[in-house]
């Protein structure tokens, strides 16, 4: 007992390093490092390391599991840019690109409506957000049954006496991408919606009250209060949706496997790498896609900034 007391008296902290003995600056630094090390480690392991490997593989000719990697330099990239069929699939992305605007419009519409006082508000919020919680594979299967001949959609049309409008929703090459893009809207709208809802509800109530007193109607409130307040979030959603449209994969891959003209660039990449055993070429295609997404995002950012200024 007395020993410990004595040690403390003698300034034991000089020997036993304790956290509180560090300077404020050092403490702060340690805490920052400690808190960020785990997310950074995860980020490095699961994002940057695979990215690095992908770029690395894109310079090789490799079948995915063989021990022989042959360095081929830029040949994979040359192959991509000299074969037009690799790029023609991007026109499929246009369907998803246009669907994005419908998706955002709907999301914004529902988010705005559900901000105001409405009966069953929480129920509708749940209903709208629910599809996003579903597993993408499950959604693929649900909609496969929905679109097949005599499936759910056709049965529904029968009930409403609209039988003459029945189509081969996936069999018709002019319709297939619209059907698939519709599925995509159904799935991702909830995500946009919940983000919009979050920001809109962060707008202080008293602004609406002031607007009410000034005689503003709902449309004015939407146009002059809500839209300017969530501008940045709209931008963010547009960026996310557009890069999403360029890289569509899950829904068409599960529902059609890219058949009947629904092939997207990512399906093309997966086919190249896994069906034809060209991992190097597949990696190069993935790198090209990454670069395209970065360029589009930068362009968009620039456009929005100029508009804002």
């Amino acid at each position: 007992m007395s020993n410990t007391l004595k040690e403390r008296g003698n300034g034991g902290s000089r020997f036993a390093l304790s956290f509180s003995s560090l300077s404020y600056k050092a403490q702060r630094r340690v805490i920052i490092i400690l808190f960020s090390i785990l997310p950074l480690a995860l980020l490095a392991t699961f994002s940057y390391l695979p990215l690095y490997r992908m770029v690395y593989y894109s310079f090789f000719s490799w079948n995915g599991f063989s021990k022989n990697l042959n360095f081929v330099g830029l040949e994979n990239y040359m192959t991509i840019f000299t074969r037009p069929e690799y790029f023609s699939v991007f026109k499929v992305s246009l369907y998803y690109f246009f669907a994005t605007f419908i998706q955002m419009g709907l999301a914004l519409y529902f988010a705005t409506i559900l901000t105001f006082k409405i009966r069953g508000k929480n129920f509708f919020k749940g209903v709208l957000f629910f599809p996003f919680l579903l597993n993408g594979v499950a959604i693929g299967f649900i909609f496969m049954y929905f679109f097949r001949p005599d499936g759910t959609l056709d049965a529904l049309l029968h009930v409403f006496g609209l039988s003459e409008f029945i189509q081969l929703w996936l069999g018709n090459p002019d319709l297939i991408n619209i059907s698939l893009a519709g599925t995509s809207v159904w799935r991702y709208m909830g995500f946009n919606f919940i983000i919009f809802l979050g920001v809109i509800s962060s707008i202080p109530r008293d602004i609406y009250e002031a607007a009410d007193i000034d005689g503003a109607n709902r449309w004015h409130q939407f146009r002059y209060i809500i839209v300017p307040s969530i501008r940045r979030i709209i931008e963010l959603n547009v960026i996310l949706s557009i890069s999403g449209a360029i890289a569509v994969f899950e829904i068409p891959y599960i529902m059609t496997g890219g058949a009947n003209g629904s092939k997207t660039f990512v399906i093309q990449t997966v086919d190249t790498a896994f069906k034809f055993g060209k991992f190097g070429l597949g990696s190069a295609m993935a790198v090209v896609l990454l670069i395209i997404v970065i360029i589009v995002t930068l362009l968009q950012n620039k456009l929005f900034k100029e508009k804002g200024a």
Partner: protein, 456 residues
């Protein structure tokens, strides 16, 4: 107290870091290990085939068997085979793992060392890679005394894989539908086949041909190459040197022209894009479908759904060479031992037991890898029809793997659904290109890759 916490955190940190470092280290270790491991395993080849070297009781260990048969892994493998296996090998514990997308996932797992002890060799592996991944089962010379089709996964005269079963190529059909349609004789030319399908369309409510377009892997019509040519050398000796293999009268043309004509003449399902593989089984069993182009492995799967299993019949591809009709016999997936396995003896014991005693092949309507086993009933009909079974001659050692290389390089994909779906789409009128455009494109791509691989 504070000091204590700091050290706790610091320790945790060190732990996490070392864990990450360990992961990294492992990764690196995998890669340079390549070539060294190579030679070592190749040397083992000499004494292989040695499943029967030591007494069954002496073999022990835990093994994991990876299979693509998600449908029967529990009901048959675990509950039926395992107890019987353990009667003989009481000290071997077997656990099973099944993968739905087998081809896709196993190749990724093979980049690690953890891909089970017994697994099926993925289809598009090139032969010189076999020793890097799999333990030799024995020399061809030795194994071929007792087993057939062990040459389909071989390198340098050493076999790495034992076929789970051997399939005959052909067409599964519903006999009752054929009767109702008034088809009395099985067609033996594509023209007669088309006529027969028209009869089904006119005289019954059944869909004449169900393509299973959506599932993709079910479009394996290419097995008919050997039967059409009537030449067992076709696949590995002629096709690898064939200029324009998709041009008129060549086997690939005959097969896929028939596919196109069927689609073009509305003899397939209304909407191919929404076909359902599992759903197609009861449909053919109940007479809602006339035929499906599937190998003999499919017979029992269809019969399982039929009230009267005898309704399901099996016929060869409608083609003949001077009146003789052929079918191709070929090994299904080959089982192999992971070269990194810790219980190789136990793993081999499972493979040889599976081939010799499980009765798997018979239960699947296939031919056993074990020589001298009786023909399954479904294929006995072939003997009555006078169909001759051909097995492909293996490629010359220096040309081993050419076909896979050409196929991958050209992105034609003989075993992939891509161009077949394209042909069906063209047939139902969903594409701007004609069947001749498709054949021309496939020919061009094939020729370019063929010249590069063969150096001719």
């Amino acid at each position: 107290m504070r000091g204590k916490k700091f050290w706790l955190v610091a320790l945790t940190l060190v732990f996490v870091l070392s864990l990450l470092a360990a992961c990294g280290g492992n990764n690196n270790a995998n890669q340079p290990a390549n070539n060294g491991g190579n030679n070592a395993s190749a040397n083992n080849g000499g004494n292989a085939g040695g499943a029967d070297e030591s007494a069954p009781e002496e073999i022990s260990g835990d093994i994991t068997v990876i299979t693509h048969r998600t449908d029967i892994v529990d009901s048959v493998f675990k509950e039926e085979y395992l107890p019987r296996f353990q009667e003989q090998y009481p000290n071997v514990n077997v656990s099973f793992e099944s993968i739905t997308d087998y081809e896709g996932q196993i190749k990724i797992r093979m980049n690690t060392e953890d891909y089970g002890d017994v697994l099926n060799i993925p289809n598009d592996i090139v032969p010189e890679d076999l020793p890097n991944f799999f333990e030799p089962l024995g020399s061809l010379e030795e194994l071929e005394q007792n087993y057939q089709f062990v040459h389909e996964q071989q390198y340098d005269g050493i076999s790495y894989g034992m076929p789970t079963t051997i399939n005959a190529s052909g067409i599964v059909y519903n006999k009752r539908v054929f009767e109702e349609a008034g088809i009395t004789e099985l067609p033996d030319t594509p023209e007669k086949f088309l006529e027969a399908m028209h009869m089904i369309k006119e005289n019954t409510d059944a869909i004449p041909v169900y393509t299973n377009y959506a599932a993709g892997w079910t479009l394996g019509w290419g097995d008919a190459m050997v039967p059409i040519s009537g030449d067992p050398d076709y696949t590995n000796h002629i096709l690898v040197r064939e200029e324009d293999p998709f041009s008129a009268d060549k086997p690939l043309h005959v097969i896929y022209k028939l596919m196109y004509d069927l689609a073009d003449q509305d003899l397939i399902e209304e909407d191919p894009t929404t076909t359902d593989w599992e759903g197609s089984k009861p449909m053919i069993a109940n007479g809602e479908i006339g035929v499906m182009f599937l190998g003999s492995w499919a017979i029992t799967q269809m019969q399982d759904f039929a009230d009267n299993p005898d309704d399901i019949g099996f016929m060869p591809f409608p083609a003949n060479v001077d009146g003789q009709v052929y079918s191709r016999a070929g090994g299904d997936y080959k089982m192999a031992v992971n070269v990194h396995s810790e219980n190789k003896e136990a793993a081999k014991a499972w493979i040889f037991w599976f081939a010799n005693e499980s009765g798997f092949a018979e239960s699947q309507g296939g031919i056993s890898a074990l020589k001298g086993a009786p023909m399954p009933p479904a294929l006995q009909a072939f003997e009555e029809l006078g169909v001759e079974l051909l097995s492909e001659t293996p490629a010359k050692p220096e040309e081993n793997g050419w076909l896979t290389q050409i196929d991958n390089m050209s992105e034609v994909g003989l075993n992939q659904p891509n161009f077949k779906q394209r042909i069906i789409e063209a047939g139902v009128g969903n594409r701007d290109e004609s069947i001749d455009d498709i054949f021309a494109d496939l020919n061009d791509r094939w020729n370019e890759a063929m010249h590069e691989v063969t150096g001719q």
